[in-house]
Amino acid sequence: MAHSLTTIPNPLRLSRPSIIPGYGLTMGLTVTYLSLIVLLPLSALVAKSASLGWVEFWRLALDDRTLAAVRLSVSAAFGAALVNLFFGILLAWVFTRYRFPGRKLLDAMVDLPFALPTAVAGIALTAIYAPNGWIGSLATMLGWKIAYTPIGIIIALTFIGLPFVVRTVQPIIQDLDRDVEEASATLGASRWQTLRRVVLPTLAPAALTGFALALARGIGEYGSVIFIAGNLPYKSEIAPLLIVIRLEEFNYAAATAVGAMMLAISFTMLLLINLIQAWSRRRYAND
């Protein structure tokens, strides 16, 4: 990072002097646009929650159906993030360490969940995992039901969260120092011991970042889930869907309460992700 300005910051000034023009203009536009599109609308949610009053807000937020929906969103996202943690590390390893035909194409396709509209993913996954679908019919023969159950939700969230762990772990594997692995082998460790004791701990901070990102994305996900979920209250109804249902009933108060809870969870996740990333940066800076 280039620091061409060597002036010592004056604690009374908000910005350091620069000969480049446009600070006031661009900063003013940035803050205005940010406030209009993001901050002001978000504060409408906070204001609406406050206007409900303390007692009414908690009555709505701690409603059984709301709690069941939030619990389902969080636990299904957690399950999917765990699946992605395992397969994300595995795929990142396969793409960086192994050579096989089609590797680059597969690697590029991992970003598909970022590019494919969630509604398309939702109906496609449902078509596959429904009892008459390609995989669903196999599952039915074994006596399992995937679509229209929480398992279906986990599959949809696994699809949505797939790129996160792969993309956070991949650059770390690329930069791994092979000498360390060689040293470990020279000192008598088996390949498995080296992977478990040397490689995996190095990947942990990045993998955890990817896990948290996938979890956060999964908790708020809507489009890919609603088709496959079945959407039974208390059983397979996710929190974002409950917001939509409340809005369709014109019950703004209840929608707001669920929304405020979700927003609180999002901010907690954001804080957590920032902490993990700070820890991760320290870890990798020392290497």
Partner: protein, 292 residues
């Protein structure tokens, strides 16, 4: 599929200390491929399979009926408004953030990234609370005959919210990496701020900008949750393509739903191709954060 390994290749070399046995490698690759197949490739294939299930004539009819065409038009219109606005914001914000030192910079970056942490449904909800009939500004808007919710402006606003960070988050690290030396030199030599931006900064960031716009556009055209909440889903009027997919699907008109969905899937594939091309050809001119 699993026998793609390189038996001869491995046999020639002694097993390395820092490599897994080739049998293990094959097993791990197979596990990865199986996972990708089940979660990624089968669903993608099923979109096109289901779309063409009732023949090509039915497919063409499904994507050329008036409601489908109206949905395509609306989706394009929303992207045409939302993407350039967010692109301009991204350039302006990253100029302020990358070219100057000021307090609270990382907090500002966090705020810009905020829409990525918020559920799309919440993005819709907040605009309903602000502009809806029972919302804070609802009475004033209806008194002045301004329609935002269940109309085009609401759809555009919700789309702008969810795609807000894409360009800025690509450009900020890129411009920080490039530093301010070139701009300072240009200014010292007498160029105006605008000239400096046009002749120095813009050529430096153009591939990163294109990359950000590409991702922003893909999300803008495919956004579902946020738009579902504010659109009201009026056929032929406020239905974007993803909403049209939902409505057709819920009417059990699966072939038509998948036909419209297949267009969105093609858009996603095109986005991936262009993105991979930019990463491959101009990787050095795209921010490190996005490269892999």
């Amino acid at each position: 599929m699993t026998d793609i390994a390189y038996r001869g290749h491995v046999a020639r070399r002694p097993p390395e200390a820092t490599m897994e046995r080739s049998s293990v490698q094959r097993l791990v690759i197979a596990a990865g491929l199986l996972f990708l197949g089940i979660v990624l490739f089968l669903p993608l294939a099923s979109v096109f399979f289901e779309a063409f299930r009732q023949g090509i004539d039915h497919y063409v009819a499904s994507i050329s009926e008036p409601d489908a065409l109206a949905a395509i038009r609306l989706t394009l219109m929303v992207a045409v408004v939302a993407v350039p606005l967010n692109m301009a914001f991204g350039v302006v914000a990253s100029w302020a953030i990358a070219k100057f030192e000021f307090r609270g910079k990382s907090f500002l970056i966090t705020l810009i990234d905020l829409p990525f942490s918020v559920s799309p449904v919440i993005a819709g909800l907040i605009y309903v609370l602000l502009f809806g009939a029972q919302g804070f500004l609802g009475p004033w808007l209806s008194a002045h005959n301004i329609e935002i919710i269940f109309a085009l402006p609401g759809i555009v606003l919700a789309t702008m919210f969810v795609t807000f960070p894409f360009v800025a988050r690509e450009l900020i690290p890129l411009m920080q990496e490039q530093g301010t030396d070139e701009e300072e030199a240009a200014i010292s030599l007498g160029a105006s701020g605008w000239q400096t931006f046009r002749r120095i900064t813009l050529p430096n960031i153009r591939w990163g900008l294109l990359y950000g716009v590409l991702l922003c556009n893909a999300r803008a055209m495919g956004e579902f949750g946020a738009v579902a909440v504010v659109s009201g889903k009026i056929r032929g009027i406020t239905n974007t393509m993803p909403l049209q997919v939902e409505i057709l699907y819920n009417e059990y008109n699966f072939a038509a739903a998948f036909a419209v969905a297949s267009l969105l899937a093609l858009l996603a594939l095109l986005t991936l191709v262009l993105k991979s091309f930019l990463e491959w050809r101009y990787g050095d001119h795209i921010a490190a954060a996005a490269r892999h």
